[in-house]
Symmetry: C2
Subunit: 124 residues, 2 copies
DNA sequence: TAAGTGTACTATCATTCGTAATACAGTTAT
DNA sequence: ATAACTGTATTACGAATGATAGTACACTTA
């Protein structure tokens, strides 16, 4: 029974969160494919698929024989990805407004996340 | 070759956009399952699946024997859905900030979409 | 009654997800 | 060179999902 979202995708989301929240620091080495597979009791191939996706999205980089590491990216130049995220954002904001969510509420959310990113980790 | 997103989901997204942009007005009748299936050259079951999803999400309502119609919703009370959208929004905003997108840019986007919703359709 | 509507069900096929086993390639330490 | 670790690639299989297809039922309207 898949919880409607593939395991490898869940893993990608989780890792992205950890990286963006700086729980995983730049250049920090990630658990190896086989190690993590053992820890999570899932197949190494599933981990590898997640890692590959994370690498494509620019969140990690892998070196054969050495391991996988968190990217240094803080300011990406990937124009395609930025455009894609902005488009998603527009869709979601429109839906939120349609649902009756106030613009101010969303703006507050942005400010909270933005200051939390600059000022440091005060809360979670 | 599926463009990585199911047809019925693409259809749901498309209809949601049309409804939110008020191209499809409240209480307006939608094409019947079979009619739309013929027009789009896809299976009636696929249309029905999309319509069912749209009904679950509160965008349309269907009456057996009569047809499917656009909901009047402008201010939903569906707390679960609002919470879900807010959570998605938070994830996406965080990723946008991580990519280097400025908070002000997102706020501008919100204002643009919000005024476009209240003031009427000046542009598209 | 007839023709339109939504809805439900079963069957079939292709694709994807996840697992499994195996192999290859590169790094590091011995 | 060897051993033990890393990432990567390939193939195979079973289960779940997406989409098609056909059929049937229930309701509304003329």
């Amino acid at each position: 029974m898949r919880s409607r979202k593939p395991i490898y995708e869940q893993l990608v989301d989780k890792m992205k969160e950890l990286i963006m929240h700086e729980v995983l620091k730049p250049d920090e080495q990630l658990p190896s494919v086989r190690t993590l597979a053992t820890q999570l009791t899932i197949n190494p191939n599933t981990i590898q698929k997640a890692y590959r996706e994370l690498e494509i999205q620019g969140f990690i980089y892998s070196i054969k024989g050495k391991g996988s590491f968190v990217s240094l990216n803080n300011q990406t130049k990937d124009i395609e990805k930025i455009a894609s995220v902005m488009k998603e954002l527009e869709k979601l904001i429109l839906e939120a407004l349609y649902l009756g969510i106030q613009a101010g509420e969303m703006i507050d959310l942005i400010h909270a996340l933005d200051s939390g990113k600059k000022g440091g980790d005060s809360n979670d």
